[in-house]
Amino acid sequence: MPLIPKPVEEWYKEFSKQEKIWIAIALAVAIILAATTLSWPLIDPKHEVPSSAREFNPTAYKEIANNFSSIYNGKLVPPNTDIYIAAQQYFWSISTLVLKKGVDYRFHLGSLDVIHGFTIVGNGTVYSIMVMPGMEYVFTMNFKNAGTYYVICSEYCGYGHGSMRMVIEVVA
């Protein structure tokens, strides 16, 4: 019994056929899961965790992000324009981002103070990535559906965390 010490002969049993089948299935499951995620870049490289990131200077980045916001807040961002967003306790550098449907936009995302979370919800979409101090995340997004999307902060950043919001309007 599993609670009492006993000699090896008493517990060292051959695996039954059913136990062997189950080992094979368990290994197969792990291999299927691992193979799927490893081969995903070949299947669809456009739904993938972005891998481009670089260190940045917070002061310089803040200026770029504020500059971007002062030009484009609430106005349509033309294609081929890089989007710069800075997160900070307790707001995003831009409050309303207007984008065109079906266009590739390059986003830059970084935090000026603590860790924040960039979560987009709305129209059946849920995406979350981390916003780090000192590390700028660069990624491409293309919204296939027009509509209103909300960005919330999803990493606890202090008492005002819950009110940290931004709107993305995607227009046809």
């Binding site: 599993p2 010490p5 965790v49 860790i115 979350s128 981390m130």
Partner: protein, 550 residues
């Protein structure tokens, strides 16, 4: 060396020093789960977004995070570790008939942990540590929080070392013959993982303290990596300890009949695999962090974690198979006929099955969130706490509760105060946590963020499901209260003598041991795996419906 009593259960020697240590650890575990439970009322009410309740309890955006920190630290660190150390002492000293090696040092470890816990509780209660369980810098608590946390972890580390020394000295002094019992083997694997956790935890906390004192700059990414060496690998300690406890529960609850049908070699191999695969698991916390390479994310987060599911799957079959064979041996031959004969009124069996169901669901929801690409849709949503409540509350906590119902009478020769309450408690807690986990999972699919105190339904109508959190949490809290009362009354006023496990053991008459099959359990396990794969591939399909992101 004659300072022991012989338990009427299996003639185990209960050393007085061991008994006192285990009971002291259990009392602290009870206090911690009580505090965590009170915090749970505020966290669940706050997150339910029912305005009248929030006003009544005076919850706001400041104290909500304080309660959340309080809940996380007490449940995930204090309750679990106190209980685990009691279990480690039980699995070494009691099962191997040998007193705890260096019990004075064990009391020192106890004092260190207690001091650490009081310091952390004080920091949180005075509002100096509203940093949540994760305490990600550059957010910072006061210095005392990190000092207390480090001392607690240090004390726990000493206790784990004493557990290994007890096994070693029991062996060389020939207190036992043959191999380690399966439960002690499982506890030892949990202990090995725990040592790596203590090391990484100490590293993280000392580094953070050095940063607080201005001795070093803070690398946020390094913190996140090493913190999860503490925060997540500790959960593998829990999973392994839970499974060791489930083997014990299954054996005791069936009057040792199931022990005949547990393939201990199979279980031991699975335990060993868990230790082998555990370290890579850190990576699934940094899957959407900038700065870490995709290779590291895949190796450590996704692929590493997928192989970690192999040992858990093996245990799932070993446990359900042993239960099936036990019932089948008493004369049931159809594929699923034995399911109708499951003794649900037996606390050990009910707890084992609720824990397996809860961890089964949690194991399924674990897959999308640990996989690089689908995790984009679940990261930092309520899906994640949905998963870990199913694992740590529905699995570990429930198993530990049931284990305490059986270990306490063995240890003290006192009968449990109320068997009926124990049975009711397991149903309330098991069902409550499963409801809570499922509600959080569904909210998570719709992107409702974790770690957030907002009125959720104002953004998305799908988030208006939050009041259902109260249903699951309410049942679980009611179950928790019954557990605490029952165990506390047993410790202080339990009746001695008589039948130790009156109404807590179900006997099975073994009629035909030779032709035992476990095909029903195999079929159930295959169905669960089919659901797991379906959920996994559905999550990829769902990713495809979303905007492009790369």
């Amino acid at each position: 060396m004659s300072d022991y009593e012989v338990s009427s259960f299996g003639g185990l020697k209960i050393y007085r020093t061991t008994k006192h240590l285990i009971i002291a650890n259990l009392i602290l575990a009870l206090i911690s789960i009580s505090i965590g439970g009170i915090a749970a009322i505020f966290v669940a009410s706050g997150r339910s977004a029912v305005p009248s309740l929030i006003n009544f309890l005076g919850i706001n955006n400041i104290n909500y995070y304080q309660w959340l920190t309080f809940h996380g630290m007490n449940m995930l660190i204090f309750w679990i570790l106190w209980a685990e150390i009691a279990i480690l002492y039980f699995a070494s000293s009691v099962l191997l008939n040998y007193p705890i090696y260096g019990y004075r040092i064990a009391w020192f470890a106890f004092a260190a942990m207690l001091y650490g816990q009081i310091t952390v509780e004080y920091s949180i209660l005075t509002g100096n540590a509203d940093v949540l369980f994760t305490a990600y810098p550059p957010l910072a608590a006061n210095d005392l929080f990190y000092i207390g946390y480090a001392i607690f972890v240090f004390g726990a580390g000493i206790a784990v070392v004493l557990f290994f020394l007890t096994i070693y000295y029991a062996k060389i002094n020939e207190a036992y013959k043959g191999s380690l019992p399966l439960v002690t083997w499982g506890a030892a694997i949990a202990g090995i993982i725990a040592l790596t956790v203590v090391f990484q935890g100490a590293l993280t906390l000392i580094y953070t303290l050095a940063w607080r004192l201005g001795l070093t700059s803070m690398n946020v990414m390094a913190y996140r990596w090493f913190f999860w060496g503490l925060g997540h690998d500790a959960q593998y300690v829990n999973v392994v300890a839970t499974i060791a406890v489930l083997y014990a529960l299954l054996a005791i609850g069936t009057g040792l009949t199931a022990a005949k049908f547990i393939n201990e070699r199979y279980a031991k191999v699975a335990f060993a695999l868990a230790a082998l695969f555990v370290i890579p698991g850190i990576g699934h916390h940094i899957l959407v962090d900038p700065g870490f390479s995709t290779v590291l994310k895949q190796a450590s987060g996704s692929v590493g974690s997928h192989f970690l599911s192999v040992p858990t799957l093996l245990h799932a079959f070993a446990l359900t198979g042993a239960l099936e064979a036990t019932i089948r041996a008493s004369g049931h031959t159809s594929l699923f006929g034995w399911l109708r004969r499951i003794p649900w009124t037996n606390p050990a069996i009910a707890a084992t099955l609720f824990a397996l169901i809860s961890m089964g669901i949690g194991g399924i929801t674990a897959q999308p969130q640990t996989t690089l690409q689908p995790n984009l849709n679940y990261h930092n949503t309520l899906w994640v706490p949905g998963h870990f409540h199913l694992m740590v509350a529905g699995g570990t906590t429930l198993a530990f509760m049931a284990f305490i119902y059986y270990a306490l009478p063995i240890l003290t020769s006192r009968r449990l105060y109320s068997t009926k309450l124990a049975k009711l408690q397991i149903f309330l807690f098991g069902i409550g946590i499963i409801i809570l986990g499922l509600v959080m999972t569904i909210l998570g699919i719709n992107g409702d963020p974790r770690r957030d105190f907002i009125n959720p339904s104002d953004l998305l109508p799908a988030w208006s499901l939050t009041p259902l959190i109260l249903l699951g949490a309410g049942l679980a809290i009611a179950g928790g209260v019954l557990f605490i009362l029952n165990v506390a009354v047993t410790i202080f006023t339990g009746k001695k003598g008589g039948n130790l496990f009156d109404g807590m053991i179900t006997s099975f008459e073994v009629k035909n041991e030779a032709s035992i099959s476990k095909r029903g359990a195999l079929a159930i396990c295959i169905i669960v795996v089919a659901i797991l794969l379906t959920v996994y591939f559905l999550s990829y399909w769902r990713l495809e419906t979303m905007p492009e992101l790369y």
